[in-house]
């Protein structure tokens, strides 16, 4: 099971990298850009057997204990659609 933990700076915490990126976008002519916040994506692969609700709970614990620093950051968890079963390939393949 694949999951993504999205870590972003909390609202109100100054994000100088985001401001620099926003400036860059405006210099490229993207005048509609009002603000940019830069965060990070942490991809986590879990045991396939794990139940989805337990996975969410465990990922929340991972985020709280290590992946995000809750003093300055928030997090969000997304599950990635599993790719088609590779054993069910086109017939005739070995």
């Amino acid at each position: 099971m694949q999951a993504k933990v999205l870590v972003t700076l909390r609202a109100g915490v100054l994000d100088p990298a985001g401001e620099a990126v926003a400036d860059g976008l405006r210099q490229l002519g993207f005048d509609e850009v009002r603000s940019v916040r830069v965060g990070k994506v942490i991809e986590v692969e879990l045991d396939d057997e794990i139940d989805a609700s337990l996975a969410k709970e465990r990922l929340g614990q991972m985020a709280g204990q290590l992946l995000a620093n809750l003093v300055i950051e928030d997090y969000d968890i997304e599950f990635v659609e599993s790719p088609p079963d590779k054993d069910a390939g086109p017939s005739g393949c070995a």
């Binding site: 700076l9 100088p16 620099a20 620093n69 003093v71």
Partner: protein, 227 residues
Amino acid sequence: MKVAVITFPGSNCDSDAISVMRVMLGLDTKAVWHKEARLPDQVRLVIIPGGFSYGDALRSGAIARFSPIMADIKRFADAGGLVIGICNGFQILLESGLLPGAMLQNASQKFVCRMVQVEAVSNTTPFTSDYQRHEWLRIPVAHHEGRYHADEETYRQLQRDDRIAFRYGCRDNPNGSLGDVAGIVNAQRNVLGMMPHPERAVESLLGSDDGLRLFRSAVRFAKSREG
């Protein structure tokens, strides 16, 4: 009395700290690798030096807390032992929960390496008793993630309990830290974290010797407890 200086993979100010304690102050100083499970016997002061432990993976200081030695440092600190975290050492203490708050990238987005004016705000800590209250010191900084942040309640508590050991001059704040905070102590006052590098300000030849009194204060305090 014995001093321990911890080296993590990526620490780079450990030799400077050892040199101050061993050569300038003449103390029995042990270099301790982070994989050690225990501090040497009779250690009275632990220094977590600056650098880039684990290449700043995830966040500065976030991975060092899993090093075996950290459990013993926590035990040592809980028992009242003196701990100084400098720069990356401060970041490690924050990420380990030994000090409150967190570090963010400098507001300028730049790595800042220069001498700054630092105010000794509180002199009622084991580390700052040799300073006058509100004395201005010259101590260099060298960091990219030094913008101290804490929630409002935590910051109020730090102020109320006189736990802000050092502040930058308000016109000379190199990183945009909350309240110009440069260094804080824990509630028990035996753990200090600071971004400026006192070990780089120990001889007038280096531009300042204002940092030396910090180590002298800590050593005197530790010795007085040894009886």
